[in-house]
Amino acid sequence: MPELAAQRPSVALFIPCYVDQLAPEVGLATATVLERLGCEVGFDAGQTCCGQPFVTSGARREAVRLARAHVERFAGADAVVCPSASCVATVRRRYADLIGEARAWRLASRTFELGEFIVSRLGTSDVGACFPHRVALLESCHGLRELELGRASERLDPEPSRIGVTETLLRGVSGLELRPVSRRDECCGFGGAFSFGFPELSARIGRDKLRALSESGAEYVTGTDVSCLLHLEGLRAREGFGPRAIHLAEILASGAGR
């Protein structure tokens, strides 16, 4: 991609705390994909957490504190890219309410989910990846409904249905066979604090999801959120059935590249 390489867009990685601690390979894959597409990738090790768990559990004071620190940390970046749709949604949809400052708005408009950044900013849907497997897509709720990475099934405007960015990217991966899933955008039941507050219900919803994914015949389930994938993976480990979870970044980073 010579025309991209000429510009070398510079990207600040936003690696959420739980990706940092529990799924480092997703962060590394994110960097690999972006570099392969000609970006200059930087990581500021002073970052910690965007505050999402505090926002959703109602700890407003703590949420404000972390949001301020996050804005401070990333204020100078041209583009911030993150492999977690729900953390991006926190910055984009909640910060304005937490800290009503122009800087928060500005950061919101510069923070992107990985796949969204590739398709809408870098303008490509072919990252040169190769993943010869049957894959099902988990359209996680925040990515779908808050970032509109795809079109939620509830939306009824008559315009022809647009293919979501995540799906577009997966279709561009060579060898990958995308399998349809019934009730494609039903929540997996994770819900952050919900999975701790209502563990039984959370697992029930998750098991139904796992069953639908498994019936799709997929070997892998992928998505834009490590959290939902870890929840499904934890259920799979307990139940002994269902596709393995793999993050979108890992699929996009697979294969030799160009």
């Binding site: 690696i15 705390c17 990706v19 940092d20 601690q21 529990l22 799924a23 480092p24 390979e25 962060g27 590394l28 960097a31 570099e35 090790a45 970052q47 910690t48 957490c49 505090f54 959703t56 109602g58 700890a59 407003r60 703590e62 504190r65 909640r94 709720c141 409904r145 939620a152 099934s153 509830e154 939306r155 009824l156 405007d157 008559p158 009730r183 955008d185 039903e186 929540c187 039941g189 819900g191 952050g192 604090a193 919900f194 701790f196 507050g197 209502f198 563990p199 039984e200 219900l201 697992a203 029930r204 919803i205 998750g206 139904d208 870890l230 993976e233 934890g234 259920l235 480990a237 307990r238």
Partner: protein
């Protein structure tokens, strides 16, 4: 209160079916999304001018011959209705489904005072015979199977044992209800909308039971929340096009009755109930929830409602809209905690015909009103402190790594216990991303 096994799956499937019907009906109406936007604006306007609308409604309804009463809370509503019945010597009442009277506990109040109340909506009658509250705001008995209902009707209505044919069961209910209608002294109904410009009540049903109730006995008492007011009949046209489509996928309900004053020789009383609504109206962040037209679409799409069932909520209105209204209209500590019972998937917000931002409201209620124990407050304080400093964060990461093998096992008091009840923890990767990034930079990789 969670239904289990097959019953749960049946409930999930039956309710999701309603959601799918809604999708089909909405897609067949090319203006659906524009209608939603229109309805949102219309309801916002109505709530902003509620005081004027109420005044105008009272004036016009009175001119048409109705008597308007105001009830500040549930006890006031119950008292007013009971006094009306008592002063007219009414002892047998046919009632058509109203979530408001459910919210205010009208039935038990009247029954304990010797008034016989028969709910005439089929689903509502089923749950009444089974002595339980409705589990859905549109389909009160959707949690019950045909077999359940057959057994119940065998016990209560003399249906032959083992009867599960819906047509014959409905026929039995119809026969039973007809005698109730004919012997009734008064009718109590709710109302879906109240039109200010004409003083009209609008009652929507699929069974015609409300209409029969309103036209047989000499006394009709309509109970409605203040938020039901809309300015004019033109607004009604918008809302009616959305209501049935969102609720059951019908283009319009079977019966839509506009009541303008009493029938000749009969009495019409309208009780306008506050019960926490003006307080909610004054709350800028949450007042939009009052725009709800009770279509039930948010329940039908909610993954939690479909698995938990309506009774699990412990509040008259279950599902997402129930979670949002409970802190304002319900009083108990548990009800104030209801906003936590959501995954925040946002599907409710996306289906709501009046575009109430339900999941955003839940987040906002969590921050302002949900009771949080000392333990949680300390925990989040501590976690935020760890996350606020990169050095402390790194330290906490190390500690977590060391503790991980212990956390992954089940033992009493394990903070990961709830997660482990039905899932495994992920295997902990040896090193964090930042550590591996450091190595990568040092190794001067590609």
């Amino acid at each position: 209160m969670l239904p289990d096994g097959e019953r749960r799956s049946a409930h999930d499937a039956a309710v999701f079916n309603l959601r799918e019907k809604r999708d089909q009906a909405g897609r067949a109406e090319p203006d659906f999304e524009r209608l939603r936007e229109h309805a949102r604006a219309l309801k916002a306007h109505a709530l902003d001018h509620l005081d004027l609308l109420l005044e105008r409604f009272e004036e016009n309804a009175s001119r048409a011959g109705a008597v308007v009463h105001w009830a500040e809370d549930a006890p006031a509503l119950n008292r007013i209705v009971h006094q009306l019945l008592e002063s007219r010597g009414a002892r047998r009442v046919v009632k058509s489904k109203s979530m408001l009277t459910e919210e205010c506990g009208l039935n038990p109040y009247l029954e304990s005072r010797g008034v016989e109340v028969v709910d005439t909506d089929l689903g509502e009658r089923i749950v009444q015979l089974a002595s339980e509250p409705p589990s859905h705001i549109i389909m009160p008995a959707i949690h019950r199977s045909r077999e359940d209902i057959g057994a119940l009707f065998h016990r209560e209505l003399d249906v032959p044992p083992g009867e599960t044919d819906p047509v014959r069961l409905t026929e039995a209910a119809r026969r039973h209800l007809r005698s109730c209608f004919l012997g009734a002294d008064a009718a109590i109904t709710g109302a879906n909308f109240a039109v200010a410009e004409s003083g009209t009540l609008v009652v929507v049903t699929n069974e015609g039971n409300a209409d029969l109730g309103m036209s047989l006995p000499g006394l009709h008492v309509a109970c409605l929340g203040l938020e039901k007011l809309i300015p004019g009949l033109a607004d009604l046209a918008v809302l009616l096009r959305l209501l049935a489509r969102s609720a059951t996928g019908q283009p319009i309900s079977v019966y839509t009755s506009l009541v303008n004053g009493p029938r000749p020789g009969a009495e019409l009383h309208i009780v306008l109930v506050d019960n926490g609504r003006t307080r909610l109206l004054a709350d800028e962040r949450h007042r939009r929830a009052l725009g709800c037209i009770r279509c039930g679409a948010c329940l039908n799409t909610c993954p939690v409602y479909r698995r938990a069932g309506g009774h699990a909520y412990g509040f008259a209105i279950p599902g997402p809209i129930g979670l949002v209204l409970a802190p304002a209209l319900g009083g108990t500590e548990e009800q104030r905690g209801l906003p936590l019972a959501s995954t925040l998937c946002g599907s409710c917000t996306a289906v709501c015909p009046v575009k109430i931002d339900l999941h955003e409201q839940l987040i906002s209620w969590r921050a302002s009103d949900v009771p949080r124990g000392l333990r949680e407050r300390l925990l989040s304080r501590f976690a935020a402190a760890c996350l606020s400093s990169p050095a402390l964060y790194a330290l906490a990461g190390l500690a977590l790594r060391a503790a991980w093998p212990v956390l992954s096992r089940r033992w009493p008091g394990n903070p990961a216990g709830p997660w482990l009840a039905s899932r495994e923890l992920p295997t902990h990767p040896g090193a964090s991303f930042r550590a591996r990034w450091r190595d990568r930079v040092r190794g001067a990789g590609p």
